[in-house]
């Protein structure tokens, strides 16, 4: 079959029938036609590099970091945010599903906190829109912290040093808004710029190898890019999973598309953590979402591309959580 058969070229009829819609489509198409013919140019890619972190207030930031690692945030003072979101490694844990305060496994895999600020919705379900709400919900959730922002404030008010830190940061005694804002501020700082792919996007053509580049091209041509795009390579739309074949547990039916940033070091994968390796995940994704049986070579090529997405936090490359034991070291 000639290639022309797939090209929508019956312009007059198209225009005639759907003038307003088609005209816009056509115009956009014409404008981007040149770009499409050179697919490897970084300039007009559907992925954009992680911007430099915004300048954040240093005192709330420092306070947020301290709170993030403060076990008093949990009802029984056993765990902190950092207990599951190990910012020393990959911002998550190595387990497929972490255990809650009640000792039971949580229903879903813990997503990394790195670059969470770049997602348009939070959590697998995408039910929360802001980091503050997320933190509040995390504290309240009986499975995670089993506490509440109010309870935490009571505890913190008993600590003169912390009270003073709140006063320094917010010029007022500790309150819920300040508590949540501090944590969210800290989380906004948890970006991992500087990945090799971002450098390639910025014009450094030697930042990725030809194999990795061809992996990216494959990633695009297979259609992965249609969901995994934008600054966070995902994280900006909802999608149902298991379009063609089942992928993990059925619930939740629809997920916020996860970001592929640092995907090489945030195993295991999927909402239920069912894919232990990246290759496995790519293979499963190809089949379930694209109805493609990818060859090992194709999988290898895509994984090679995905490995270029690992960035650095505070100048240190994000590393797999298994690389070091999850120790909750709270600076007190």
């Amino acid at each position: 079959m000639p290639r022309s058969a797939l090209t929508p070229v019956s312009w007059p009829s198209y225009l005639g029938r759907k003038a307003s819609l088609s005209a816009l489509v056509l115009l956009a198409g014409a404008l981007t036609a040149a770009a499409q013919t050179v697919p490897s140019s970084p300039a007009a890619e559907p992925i954009t590099p992680i911007p430099a972190p915004a300048r954040l207030e240093p005192r709330p930031l420092a306070l947020g970091e301290q709170l993030f690692h403060d076990t008093r945030l949990s009802h029984d003072n056993t765990r902190s945010c950092g207990s599951c979101h190990d910012t020393g490694t990959n911002g998550a844990s190595a387990d497929a599903r972490d255990r809650g305060v009640d000792g039971l496994l949580l229903p879903l895999n813990t997503p990394t906190v790195f670059n969470a600020a770049l997602n348009f919705r939070l959590n697998w379900e995408g039910n929360l829109r802001s980091l503050e709400r997320e933190a509040e919900e995390g504290l309240r959730n009986p499975a995670t912290m089993a506490s509440s922002a109010e309870e935490v404030i009571v505890k913190i008010n008993a600590d003169a040093v912390m009270v003073q830190r709140f006063r320094d940061a917010y010029a007022r005694p500790p309150d819920v808004a300040a508590l949540l804002n501090a944590i969210a501020t800290y989380e906004r700082s948890l970006l991992t710029p500087g990945s090799r792919f971002d450098r390639w996007l910025a014009g450094e053509t030697s930042a990725i190898s030809p194999e990795e580049l061809s992996g990216y091209l494959l990633f695009k041509s297979l259609g992965c890019i249609s969901c995994h795009q934008g600054v966070n390579i995902g994280g900006n739309l909802f999608q149902r999973h298991g379009v063609f074949y089942t992928l993990g547990t059925p619930e939740p039916e629809r997920v916020r598309v996860p970001s592929l940033r640092n995907v090489a070091v945030t195993a295991p994968y999927f909402h239920d953590g069912s894919a232990a390796t990246l290759n496995e995940a790519v293979r499963q994704m190809g089949l379930a979402q694209l109805d493609r049986v990818l060859t090992d070579q194709q999988v290898g090529s895509i994984v090679a591309f995905l490995r270029t997405l690992t960035g650095a936090y505070q100048g240190r490359s994000v590393m797999p959580a298994s690389a070091r034991p999850t120790v909750d070291a709270v600076p007190r």
Partner: protein, 943 residues
């Protein structure tokens, strides 16, 4: 009134502010903000439509822009909601707008999810055509696969029901022919799966897209915008109304302000007139002490000019003397806390350094709080008047209390100095004898020292016209010198300058036209003359003068009374104890008083005498003479008489008296009377006779002694006379012989006769001496040469000396001053001593017989004569006894010789004494006073 005005002003301002705020239409900016939100919303809406179309066309692979547009819409809506809530507008359209946004969100999500799958499947279909597996199948499946792809593409272009059903037919057809199992079967199955997916998805996505592009938010947006615009228009109308009101109120306020301004201007003019009238000093100052403005009156008070003020030389702190600083601080504190302070009396320094008493009050300007206005009243006149009254009063009081001017003067000086504020004061009194002013009192303030000025003032005297005291003395007027240092007629000027004295005034202490003294005062400051002060000083001067006069009169009275009393007492003493009789008698006869001596003299008591007259006690034979003299006195012919007459005592005995009687003229209440002084001549005569007799006796004794000595010397004296007489005979004979010569030798004869004359004179001399010694003549005083007199004595004693084998040595001092006395008596003493010595040595067998006679001058100008012998000497215990009468160691002699010698020397005021001679013998010495050194007493007795 002021409170009401202030409240009214505040109210009016509040009203204006309120009107202004209402008229501004404060929601205009909020409205603009909302308008921007509307624009943002519209932009986001357009952006979503565009981006969705692009994404649908496969030209946009990045959904971040859709997310951003949706968030922009949400943000815009929340802004609009805020505005709507703030403006209190019906929120229903905003709710609709929010619902539209929710719809957008939902549509966008649906579109993103759907479009992703759509793009995947389209990509799969398009890839299928190039897939090698697909190519392998092409022979059998190509037609149906192509038809399927075409149906997919048709649906992709046109998601109408027909296209969908056409795709479904093609799927069914392809499925019917599709191989089962094997790679081909798998590929076919995948193709069918994708086509099926697309057949459901494409219409759905396009529906979603259509809904999105239909801009569901436009209507509620426009609705909201319209409502907001309406509300805005309404509030703008309100604002306009308020602007009009504002204008009207402002107009009213302007009128009020103008009227207030006019009123204030009138008031200010009044105040300005007060300032410019220069009735009181006014200045504007700050708490730091700077003075910004001042009127002429103030400048006049402190002696500065406007230039000083402008240049900032006039400072409050500089004006205030140190002792007022503390008081000033208190006033400032009061000023700070209350905004004003009660007027206080204090002093300011004038520019020339002098002081001016002032009353100062001040108030802060409320608006600044740091600046204020001060009112200054010159109290100089009042202070001066007070001072003067006080000074006059004090001086009067001091004068009233003081007993003497010496006691009063230091207090007056101090009181005047302190009250009038002068530093040094001096009182000068006229010294009548020296015709000069002498400083008798000097006061200075305790706080200052003017040692040199004080010393010089006390030492110096001023003659009329010299210096300040002299000028006042001659002019009889108070005088004022603003500064004594440059004054030409001020001798103490340089000292005053050294000790810092400048202004001075002086005033006379006057009595009638006579200056009794001068008071002067000095100040350390330069002061200008003050006529009133001078007038007052004149008053004080005459006050003091009167005081002095009063005291003088009192003193004179007291002194005369005392003198009288003393004189009476003295007189009484004299009267009672006089060795002469004193009595007074009335002119008509009887005695009034008679002193004890008089009573004793006559044997009458005083009472008895009161019944007797002078004539009654006078001897009968003397009465006539006495009466004659009394009559003469009574007739005024004489004031007194003196006569030697006899009284008859009470016992009938007659006594000789010397009477001195005077008539004492009447004085005051005392009538004229006789006073008589009576000397008892009986006793006087007796004593005189006795003294005469003793003197005669002594003279007789001395003469007897001389005669006796001459008798003793008779033999040797005869020899002394015989020798020249014999010599004269021989020489006479020789002369005769020379005359007998032929020719007579006249020369030789003359020579011989000359010798005869000498011999005769010598013999004559000796005889004269002897005669002198033997002659009984009263002693007489005269000046004579002692050495010559002694030589004559030696001549007389020569033969006696030689006869006893005694060698004589005379050591008579050269140039001995003449002595005063009786020459014969002194020679008698020397002769006595020589003869005693010769006789004493004559009794001694062994040893040389040496007699030494020496004279020497004494330090007092007299002479001392010593006669030494080498005789047996005198026992030490007898040295004094030898001078007693009738004491003698000689076999022959009266024992009176040395006693008489001592009497003679004593009568000459000299001394005669005996000592042991060294190595043996005795020495008798006597001294005589030099001529004129001692009055020679003619009496013989040593009294």
């Amino acid at each position: 009134m002021r409170l009401a005005l202030a409240a009214g002003g505040v109210l009016l301002l509040a009203l204006l502010t309120w009107l202004l705020l209402r008229s501004i239409n404060t929601n205009a900016s909020a409205y603009a903000e909302a308008q921007r939100a509307f624009d943002d919303f519209a932009l986001a809406e357009a952006s979503i439509s565009r981006d969705a179309l692009q994404a649908r066309a496969g030209l946009l692979g990045n959904y971040d822009v859709l997310v951003a547009a949706e968030e922009a819409m949400e943000s815009a809506v929340s802004k609009i909601r805020l505005h709507v809530e703030a403006e209190n507008i019906d929120p229903t359209p905003v709710d609709r707008l929010a619902a539209a946004v929710a719809q957008y969100a939902e549509l966008t999500e649906r579109f993103k999810s759907g479009n992703s799958l759509l793009q995947n499947s389209l990509s799969y279909v398009s890839q299928l055509s190039t897939d090698p597996a697909f190519g392998a199948l092409s022979d059998r499946f190509a037609p149906s696969a192509t038809a399927l792809a075409a149906a997919v593409l048709r649906l992709a272009r046109d998601s109408s029901v027909e296209s969908a059903s056409s795709l479904q037919q093609q799927i069914n057809r392809f499925e019917a022919q599709a191989p089962i199992g094997g790679p081909d079967g798998e590929a076919a199955r995948a193709l069918i799966a994708h086509a099926l997916l697309l057949s459901g998805l494409l219409p759905d996505v396009d529906r979603t897209l259509r809904a999105l592009v239909a801009t569901p938010g436009r209507l509620p947006l426009e609705e909201t915008r319209a409502i907001l615009a309406h509300a805005q228009a309404a509030s703008e109308l309100t604002a306009q109304r308020f602007r009009l009101l504002l204008y009207l109120v402002s107009l009213v306020l302007l009128i009020i302000a103008v009227r207030l301004g006019l009123w204030l201007r009138a008031r200010t003019l009044k105040i300005r007139r007060l300032v410019d009238a220069n009735i009181i000093g006014i200045f504007v100052t700050d708490l730091e002490g700077r003075i910004f403005e001042a009127n002429d009156a103030f400048l006049r008070i402190v002696g500065y000019d406007r230039e000083d003020l402008v240049s900032g030389r006039v400072r409050r702190t500089g004006l205030t003397p140190p002792e007022w600083r503390e008081r000033d601080e208190r006033a400032l504190a009061e000023l700070r806390s209350t905004g004003s302070f009660q007027p206080v009396e204090k002093e300011y320094f004038r520019k020339d350094g002098s002081r001016v008493p002032v009353l100062v009050g001040a108030a802060l300007f409320k608006e600044s709080g740091e600046e204020g206005v001060a009112f200054v009243l010159d109290l100089t006149e009042r202070k001066r008047a007070e001072e003067r009254l006080r000074v006059q009063h004090t001086v009067a009081q001091i004068l009233a209390e003081a007993a003497t001017i010496e006691e009063a003067s230091p207090r007056i000086l101090r009181a005047m100095g302190e009250c009038l504020g002068w530093d040094v004061g001096a009182l000068w009194r006229v010294d009548r004898e020296a015709e000069a002013l002498r400083c008798v009192e000097l006061w200075h303030k305790a706080s200052i020292e003017v040692p040199e000025f004080e010393r010089v003032s006390r030492e110096f005297t001023f003659v009329p016209g010299l210096g300040l005291p002299g000028r006042v003395w001659s002019s009889l007027e108070p005088d004022y010198i603003p500064d004594v240092v440059p004054d030409e007629n001020f001798p103490r000027g340089s000292i005053a300058e050294r000790e810092g004295l400048h202004a001075a005034f002086g005033f006379p202490i006057l009595l009638g036209g006579e200056v009794l003294g001068v008071v002067e005062f000095f100040s350390r400051e330069i002061r200008q003359p003050d006529q009133e002060l001078l007038d007052m000083l004149a008053t004080i001067g005459s006050q003091i003068g009167q005081f002095i006069e009063r005291k003088r009169a009192e003193e004179a009275f007291r002194a005369s009374t005392e003198a009288l009393r003393r004189s009476e007492e003295r007189w009484r003493t004299v009267f009672q104890n006089a060795p002469v009789g004193i009595g007074t008698l009335n002119l008509d006869g009887p005695f009034v008083t008679a002193n004890p001596t008089f009573q004793r003299m006559l044997g009458y008591g005083e009472d008895e005498l009161r019944s007797l007259t002078g004539l009654d006690i006078t001897h009968e034979d003397d009465r006539a003479a006495t009466r004659r003299l009394i009559d003469e006195m009574m007739a005024g012919g004489r004031q007194s008489y003196q006569m030697e007459k006899r009284y008859r005592r009470k016992d009938g005995q007659v006594i000789w008296v010397l009477v001195n009687t005077s008539i004492i003229p009447a004085s005051g209440s005392t009538p004229a009377f006789f006073a008589g002084v009576v000397v008892d001549m009986e006793e006087r005569k007796r004593a005189q006779e006795e003294r005469e007799r003793l003197r005669q006796l002594e003279a007789d004794l001395a003469h007897m002694n001389r005669v006796s000595m001459m008798g003793e010397l008779a033999a040797s004296l005869a020899h002394e006379i015989t020798q020249p007489v014999g010599s004269a005979g021989n020489n006479a004979r020789a002369a005769l012989n020379f005359l007998d010569k032929q020719p007579p030798d006249l020369g030789e004869a003359r020579e011989a006769i000359d010798s005869v004359v000498g011999d005769a004179d010598r013999a004559g001399d000796i005889i004269d001496r002897i005669r002198e010694q033997i002659k009984k003549a009263p002693p007489r005083k005269g000046r004579f040469a002692l050495n010559a007199a002694i030589n004559e004595v030696i001549v007389l004693a020569h033969s006696a000396i030689v006869k006893n084998g005694v060698s004589v040595e005379t050591r008579l001092a050269d140039g001995l001053l003449p002595v005063l006395g009786d020459r014969v008596q002194v020679q008698q003493v020397v002769l006595n001593l020589v003869l005693n010595a010769v006789e004493a040595m004559g009794s001694v067998e062994a040893g040389a017989r040496e007699l030494s006679i020496s004279t020497e001058q004494t330090k007092t100008g007299g002479a001392r004569v010593a006669v030494r012998d080498s005789g047996p000497g005198i026992d030490a215990e007898h040295l004094e006894r030898v001078f007693q009468a009738f004491y003698t160691t000689k076999s022959s002699g009266t024992g009176m010789g040395l006693s008489i010698c001592r009497s003679i020397i004593d009568a000459h005021g000299g001394r005669l004494w005996a000592e042991a001679n060294d190595p043996r013998g005795a020495v008798f010495q006597f001294s005589l006073p030099g001529a004129g050194a001692h009055e020679f007493s003619s009496g013989g007795s040593p009294s």
